[in-house]
Amino acid sequence: MLTDVIKSRFPNIVTQACVDRVDNFIVIKREGIKDIASALRDDPQFDFNLLMDLFGVDYLHWEEKALRFEVIYNLYSLRKKHRLFIKAPVPEEDPSIDSVALVWPAADWYEREAWDMFGVRFKGHPNLKRILMYEEFQGHPLRKDYPYNFRQPLVGPKN
């Protein structure tokens, strides 16, 4: 199993591994993301050369969840045709994780989006600024504690 191989290869980084139907999931410690990312890309056994998606999740109202945010990486190998989801929990008091933009250039805009929408800082990102909202916007709109209809107009009446 792919997840078992990864787990035995990185016992200090991977905390959980499971397979749900056809999808492989691993949960990691956020400190290890850079190491595991470059290893998964370069090792011919894994060969994850495509970062398909990267996004944030806010578990504010979820009781079992001790850590508030999670960053999820969706990897795919074009040659081996296998897929892996990496989940990295991120605490509320310091919402930051290392950037993988230098491992997969595709991560550049995804990380900017996750920063813009969830306020997760990606350390080492070459150009971490808002990508969807405007610079004057305060806060991060997809956080569950952002009022969904709180508007911050640049021109025209306020709300």
């Binding site: 909202m133 709109p141 952002y146 969904y148 209809n149 911050q152 640049l154 021109v155």
Partner: protein
């Protein structure tokens, strides 16, 4: 000489007003400010099948300085709002604005942090065409209402 009796000229001035209105309403140069899905319906109106040219509004201009009707077609976000206002300010008088689709009329079904709740919070609007998206017939109806409005208003000549 004494005073000029303006009442003698009233027939002339109203006829002149009508003539200018008639000319203006059939030579609409639109600026399509197309941002979202309503654009498809706009294209359908502008093309051969529904043929907006029959109403003298067939020629879209892509510079606000050359246009006199601003068609705001599609959702306007708060990020875009300053640009819409700038485009409106750049148009020369006389100018009119058509809000095309519910998104531009009221914000439509979007009630969130990103969307402007109706472009009339930013710029004045002359004709609202509701619908999500409005059918081409609906758009032509709105265009005829705009023409009626142009015909009836006092024509400022600068």
């Amino acid at each position: 000489m004494g005073e000029v009796d303006l009442s003698k000229f009233s027939l002339l001035t109203t006829k002149l007003n009508d003539a200018i209105g008639w000319a203006r309403k059939y030579s609409i140069f639109q600026y399509p400010f197309v941002t979202a899905c309503c654009g498809m319906e706009y294209m359908s109106v502008a093309c051969a099948h529904y043929d907006i040219d029959r109403f003298g509004a067939g020629f879209p201009r892509f510079s606000p300085r050359q246009a006199d009707v601003l068609f705001v077609v599609g959702t306007v976000s708060h990020k875009l709002a300053p640009i819409l206002k700038k485009v409106y300010d750049q148009m020369c008088e006389p100018k009119w604005v058509v809000a095309f689709g519910v998104c531009t009329c009221t914000g439509g079904f979007y009630d969130n942090y990103a969307t402007v709740m109706g472009i009339d919070t930013i710029i004045p609007v002359d004709v609202y065409i509701p619908g999500c998206p409005p059918r081409p017939e609906n758009v032509l109806d709105g265009l005829m209402k705009l023409q009626e409005k142009i015909q009836k208003q006092k024509q400022e000549i600068v």
